[in-house]
Amino acid sequence: MTPLTSCLLLSALLFSIGLAGALVRRNAILVLIGIELMLNAANLNFIAFWRYGSHAEALTGVMFVIFSIGVAAAEAAVGLALIISLYRHTRTTDVDKLNSMRG
């Protein structure tokens, strides 16, 4: 197994774990954690293709991952703020119970 293949397999495994968590767990914070894991799996793919692909000196993969980390941080901040705001209205973070728009 080449290094690129093992990196991609690790990334696929990480993505699947994140997807399973986001689908199965009912707590909104854990759903957000699952999404973060999926984003990290995508980042690992970028780094692996940058490292083992051609034109590594252009640094496109690294720059993409840096921007992706920035966007993921913004997403986490807004998501957690939304969860806290929702909790204030409804006193729950269970995504099954959050089923009405007017709270």
Partner: protein
Amino acid sequence: MPKDLSERIILLFTIFAILTVTGAVAAMSLRNLVHSVLALTVAFSGLAAVYLLLGAQFVGLAQILVYVGAVAILVVFAILLTRDSGTVPLISGGSWRLLRGSGIVVFAVFGVLAWAICHSSVGRHTVHLSHDTSIYEIGNVMMQRFALPLEIVGALLTVALIGAVTIAMQEKEGRR
């Protein structure tokens, strides 16, 4: 690259990959949310070590700073501010249909991905990086070719953080 060094790198990669996957599984399956976040930091640290092994020093250190340092703390604060989420059941009662459906989706996704990775030709001819990339080069590229995206990410972060503060701010009677 000498054979001994390359074998050592493969061993290190295996260790960090196992650490990452174990941390991720624990983060997604533990009942106590604080334990879950601790497992998440283990997974993020393992991933940062994998980045360092792959020669992306800046990304590995940024991963530790942003994810292990900032995002994990943010999640802990969110958990402590939402009192009902100290300990949550793994699956809420009566959702076995959901569990079965999710299991099918997850295994289908992983199966397709693994099949595609193992059968593609992309892994066979790989170019090896001759030189390590320094932070100097990353800064050069960031200030020249990627200057506009950098500014946009800065603006996005500012807007997102102001928005997050506005959303999470305590509502007063009648006005915010």
